[in-house]
């Protein structure tokens, strides 16, 4: 049975969705602004007979995730920017051994300890692998609590399907905001596809070994080619995005997560003024919905990119759109969330071409 509609905080929403999606092993280390998630799961795992461990560090926690994953469990960890940096070692090893897991990053301002409010400064780290080695992890960017539910379920399924870690990329606001949500019913763990690669003792079969060190002639080369095939398949099949008011738009504002919520309000205000603004919201940041955005960048439209950092996703926009349309950028760094009015100023400036707010990107 789906749940009743309830008012819930973003971090707790991820916790409840994870449990309903079959996650029974959570390992994490406290860091603001996502502490409500481990707190929620410390109690919820008791209800469902799962495991919650507050690890001694983010490094230890991601390696507990590695262990639970290799043992066959649906498992996750969560953190915020500085903690995600620490987890990169384990993520790289999990990719190397093709182990599924969900990693939640409720981004905060950086670099260093930065601050604890919403930021989108980890886009490069999230979408370019993040740790050492030639790899990618699918990155899902929710823009509401209800979408947090859907994407948490999707993250576990994608991780299992491709045997690769998947990142749920929110920010301090997504973790703290309270919105009404409805949860789908619990999945039955027995319905999940059998994993024929896990370690559970070699009774009745040959022993298995999982490792990422490949010293034999050509082995690592081949392994990377195999990983790339997987990434090509993910790129072809898993792009997600949403559009609003794009059909008649002269300006397409491109934003994800919290920034997309602000941009949507700005769009609505400008539509009331008669300015034809549409919204393109990537949901998968890797794979980036390149073709869909390219399709929109026609007919003399302008592409206006808004980010909660000084310009990271805009590089993917440039890769998608190239010289098809003028690309404009407005970014706000360091854990400050601009008002819809500020973003509207940017879009008006794009419409007039006066360059007063934001800047034109030279391709």
């Amino acid at each position: 049975m789906p749940s009743e509609k309830m008012l819930m905080r973003g971090s707790n929403v991820v916790g409840e969705a994870a449990v309903r999606a079959g996650c029974r092993y959570y390992f994490g280390y406290p860091i603001t602004p996502q502490n409500e998630l481990p707190e929620y799961l410390s109690a919820r795992m008791l209800d469902v007979g799962g495991t919650f461990i507050q690890g001694e560090s983010e490094v230890a926690s991601i390696n507990m995730v590695l262990g639970a994953s290799v043992a066959g469990g649906r498992t996750m960890t969560s953190s915020s920017s500085p903690g995600i940096s620490l987890k990169q070692e384990g993520i790289s090893y999990m990719v190397g051994m093709e182990l599924p897991a969900v990693i939640v990053n409720m981004m905060r301002g950086g670099p260093g300890l930065g601050n604890i409010s919403a930021s989108a400064a980890d886009y490069f780290q999230a979408t370019r692998g993040g740790g050492h080695g030639d790899y990618r992890t699918p990155v899902l960017a929710p823009a509401s609590c209800q979408e947090l539910v859907a994407l948490t379920f999707a993250a576990f399924d994608l991780a299992d399907k491709y045997r690769n870690p998947v990142m749920l990329l929110g920010d301090g606001l997504m973790g703290q905001v309270m919105e009404p949500v409805v949860f789908p019913d619990f999945i039955d763990l027995k319905d999940l596809p059998k994993k024929d690669w896990i370690l559970n003792g070699c009774e009745g079969r040959e022993p298995r070994a999982l490792f990422s060190m490949l010293l034999g002639q050509g082995e690592l080369h081949q392994h990377n080619l195999d990983l790339q095939k997987k990434y090509d398949q993910i790129t072809a099949e898993e792009q997600r995005w949403k559009t609003k008011n794009t059909d008649d738009a002269d300006i397409i504002v491109v934003a994800y997560g919290t920034a997309a919520r602000v941009a949507e309000s700005a769009m609505n205000d400008l539509r009331a003024e008669g300015l034809a603004v549409g919204l393109f919201r990537p949901i998968t940041l890797w794979p980036y919905p390149i073709a869909a955005l390219r399709e929109l960048a026609q007919k003399g439209r302008k592409i206006a990119v808004f980010e909660l950092c000084m310009g990271q996703m805009v590089e993917d926009v440039v890769l998608s759109v190239g010289e098809r349309a003028g690309i404009y950028f407005y970014g706000v760094p360091g854990g400050v969330i601009p008002t819809p009015a500020e973003v509207a100023d940017f879009l008006r400036s794009v419409a007039k071409g006066d360059g007063k707010v934001g800047r034109r990107i030279e391709v």
């Binding site: 001694e56 560090s57 230890a60 390696n63 507990m64 590695l66 469990g73 009745g204």
Partner: protein
């Protein structure tokens, strides 16, 4: 008496060990330690319910030698990985096999906290006082005065710090039930080591808590000694910093006898 009962097999290849030649140097203690672990698992009849985590270091390829499920861990993280495995499979025997650098330098936090949580895991800790795989750099356990490639003139506490006795440090934790330090550098000590390893596994099977056996182990290659001299150095010099014997035993096994 028929031929079938006239001969009793007293020695053979353990099931828990694959029939692969190892890459270990002549005189290295790993081969002996591997064999002891394998014999103990065979005798306890738990090979098929064992999941092992080797270290980064000379034993990183241990999955080529041990004949049970194994997963590689990042350097130092074996006990965190083992924690995740054990929580999914509380009915399996989970062991880590770690060197001094893995367990007592880069993995110190993971080691102490897994032990302190009382994870039902057994750790085989190989202490050879040197970094073997990377070619003889200082280990956290390098003894004072000992030459390593990064302690020119010998380990000096003011320059390089002191040798760490992690087994004794772990023993103070309430989560830790059994810790013994043995050596694989004499026949008598090897037999003792086997008893200790078996007891440590039993301690896990009985759900008592965390158990660890430290094995002082010769590294003739990086100590730049003959195998024979390396055995003698363990028995005469290394034991001064790391005295052999039971460090902690709250199993109660002897009391029951």
């Amino acid at each position: 008496m028929s031929a079938e009962v006239a001969y009793k097999q007293v020695f053979g290849w353990p099931d828990s060990l694959k029939k692969n030649p190892t890459h270990y140097c002549p005189g290295c203690g790993h081969s002996i330690a591997h064999r002891l672990v394998a014999e103990c698992l065979d005798e306890l009849g738990v090979r098929e319910k064992t999941i092992g985590v080797p270290p980064v270091g000379c034993a990183v390829l241990a999955y080529n030698y041990f004949n049970f499920d194994m997963v590689e861990a990042p350097h130092g993280r074996a006990l965190a990985v083992a924690t995740g495995i054990k929580r999914v499979h509380p009915d399996k025997l989970v062991l880590t096999y770690q060197g001094d650098g893995d367990l007592a330098a880069i993995g110190t936090a993971e080691t102490i906290h897994a032990a302190n949580r009382g994870e039902r895991i057994t750790t085989i800790f190989i202490n050879n006082a040197i970094y073997g795989m990377t070619g003889g750099q200082m280990a956290p356990t390098t003894v004072l005065g000992m030459n390593a490639t990064t302690t020119p003139g010998g380990r000096d506490p003011r320059l390089h710090g002191n040798p760490i006795d992690i087994s004794r440090m772990l023993a103070v934790s309430n989560g830790v039930v059994y810790v013994e330090r043995c050596a694989v550098s004499s026949f008598k000590q090897i037999r003792k080591a086997k008893k200790a390893i078996k007891k440590a596994f039993q301690c896990q099977l009985d759900d008592l808590g965390f158990s660890l056996v430290e094995l002082l182990s010769p590294c003739p290659t990086n100590w730049k000694m003959s195998s024979k001299a390396a055995w003698a150095w363990v028995n005469e010099e290394m034991v001064k910093t790391y005295p052999l014997g039971v460090i902690k035993d709250e199993t109660g096994y002897e009391d029951k006898k």
